[in-house]
Amino acid sequence: MSRSPMNAGLSRRQFVQAGGALLFAAECPITFATKANAAGGGAMMNSFVRIDPSNVITMLANHSEFGNGAYTVMTMMLAEELDVDYRAIEIEAAPTSPDYYSPLFREYLTAGSVTTGSTWLPMRTAGAKARAMLIEAAAQVWGVPQAELNTEAGEVHHVATGQRTPYGQLLESIHRLKIMPPDTVPLKDPSEFKVLGKPAKRHEGAAKVDGSAQFGIDLKLPGMLHGAIARPPVHGGRVVSFDATGALKMPGVVKVKAISAGVVVLAKSYWQAQKARGELKITWDRGSNDGVSSEQFYSEYRALAEQPGMLAEDIGDAKGALASADRVIESVYEMPLLAHATLEPLNCIAQVSEDACTIWSGTQYQSNDQEVISRFLGIPQENVTVHRPLMGGSFGRRSSKKADFTVEAVEAAMGENVPVKIIWSREEDIRSGHYRPLFVHKMRGSLDASGMPDAWHQVAVGQSLMQGSKHDPAYMVRGIDIYSLDGCLQEPFGVFPYGTSYQIPHHRVESHNAPRIGIVPQEWRSVGHTHTGIAYECFLDELADAGEIDPLDLRLRLSKDHARMNRVLRVLREKSQWDEPLGAGRGRGMAARIYSVSPIAQAVEVSVADNGDFTIDRVVCVLDCGFAVNPLGVEGQVEGGIAFGLGGAAFGNIDIVNGEVQQSNFHDYPVIRMSQMPKVEVHILPSDEPPTGVGEQATAPIAPAVANALFNATGRRVRRFPLSSQGFKLV
């Protein structure tokens, strides 16, 4: 079998230039055990692969599974090079040690849709190196040249003599012959792929139809107590005093105590804890956020947007061009706070001893959890053990830099000699969470004589995700949070090696970091794009309308030098039948985005009734995600990404009045339901580029595409979200 040399020798810079942008994985050294050590009755072939004598192959997964498909794509990569069935590979969450940190983040973190791209070479290399050791062992045992050996379905095979042996039976020989992992190993050429690039069903799918899948909320430990926390009515509030007399009389209640997050009731069951919590009498200090409101944030941010901000990009002379333009188009876009509302409510189990702590937590970010707990308890980081079960959705919420839902469980478990499990009620999740920050974007633009955009001036105002965090140096440029402007800049910025794909001759973008009061901002699926996508792509639509240019033509012309985006847009025109007229009451809109180097565009068709009720009849999505590792998974992520973004745009709104979140559960924080889910047509463009993740890509364009379609149907432009607040009700 011919194998091309792996390109792991590429430097990070070369790899970026090769179009792999965020795939810094290329420089990842696989950390190999110094010898093929015995572990758990099996042999550790390298950091990621363990084979046991009965030929059970285990992958140590250093990325979380929360619906993103990480476990499927990672086992596919390993299976391809190791020549085993991906479904037969068992998965174990890798321990929280630097050996398993993401080569991109240098932390144990699953975020930014990077899993597929950043494991693409490491996981395949792990499989190929393990295979090379097995081949070497079999060759020595059988006394035949390595070149005559094949691998297939977990066995080494010598065709000439018909000898076969399962991998597991070669472990002893690997030990005895002191076979070491090779320094380099060839990887399969894509033309030889049997698994990668083919539709593959979810690795853990079977456990998700019979109720056996174990989420964090499902775990039960001997002697475990269940905790429910009464949280302050205002973010940042504190307990002054509490009276637990009534609560302590309730069945099953063991203890009531104040912790930083509020007052926790510990009981024998969760229901008992939750019910007793209702009997607490608590005096709160409402803190510095008492009195703040979403409307106040909007008005302060609007005022800030009129002031010069930190300058991120200034191409040409936008101010001059706007000053001399005959006509300047101006708009302000306003996007509310949004909750993640993962269907599995946040939860964490913690057990604390004198100098160690163990947590069981559905987390995207276990090295940070470990760090925060280690600081909180004053114990060495390695004394914090993290067990990571499956997660019932995350969408960014379980990547908290503050490790809020984790460290509070640790605090609740302090002084108890049993594990303590905290579960958030849905009301706590909606009211006391972290949110997609509220943003205001002030937009100004002008046209050239042909009606094309000539000058663009944008000022973004909102809370920074990264300011003051340990990521500050990496994701802030001269004080500017690069996520606040993701997809607004024409040139690469900071560690984001891509621009909008558009070229507007005069392009100026500024930002303000809003004061850090009110709430804790948190990444929400597609992060900056959740608001920048709306501001950029809706305002572009306004300029197209002002210049009387078809919105798709306009984007084709602006992206003429960006081959990948241009191809996406051309296919979108064809697949969406863009140029075919729609009937009365109907409308069509589109939006396009570069998400971490990968272009995506969506065309949306809506039908709008006179009262503003509307249906989404069709979404056509064209994307280029590089090599599509699992097309079936990509399609699912695209549908899901659209559903998530659509819900936020249609009716997502966390509204703060007098410091208190007004919403509490799915009746007043609605999410997309089946009858509202549009028909989605997904077109994945064939590509030989390195793969990029798609967990967030499809969320980015959907909100502006829908808003633009509503404008097309009705002539009414939405500039404050959600759509439901402006008389457009998705039915």
Binding site: E204, D210, E344
Partner: protein, 156 residues
């Protein structure tokens, strides 16, 4: 208090006002039934009570006394997965999977009443079940496939 859960009679120690959901999860260790909202807004906790889908998060266990409860764990039997579960697997419906127990319980009840539902009928029957991952298109497909599987197996 006694109830029959997945065909087995069990004695319940929890207080009578405890929601059936928490009895199943915390007392009987049947954790396939999920907590999502606690107020019958999301459907993740759906079980069958006397053959009908109910939201176990708002059903006090006392209301199930002496009755038959079937959960997701009671779907597959010695003969293997049900047609609905097989259709779910074949269609690769699940993403995070947290809502899917509830979705499968509602779809199973729907297909008993209506062996060949239209898209609109599926949408209506399943409107109470939230999926934050947005697997709705595949759920719709899987319900149609399950209907076909059930029909073809009935003929055989």
């Amino acid at each position: 208090m006694k109830l029959t859960v997945n065909g087995t009679e069990v004695d319940i120690a929890s207080e009578g006002d405890t929601p059936l959901l928490w009895v199943l999860r915390d007392e009987l260790d049947l954790v396939g039934t999920k907590y999502g909202c606690g107020m019958a807004q999301c459907g993740a906790c759906t079980v069958h009570l006397e053959g009908h889908p109910v939201r176990s998060c708002v059903t006090p266990v006392s209301a199930a006394a002496g009755k038959a409860v079937v959960t997701i764990e009671g779907q597959a039997d010695g003969a293997g997965l049900t047609a609905v579960q097989r259709a779910w697997l074949e269609t690769d419906v699940a993403q995070c999977g947290y809502c899917q127990s509830g979705q499968i319980m509602v779809a199973t009840a729907l297909l008993k009443d209506n062996p060949a539902p239209t898209d609109d009928q599926i949408d209506t029957a399943m409107a109470g079940n939230v999926c934050r991952c947005g697997t709705y298109p595949r759920i719709r497909k899987a319900v149609h496939l399950a209907a076909k599987l059930i029909a073809s197996e009935a003929v055989v």
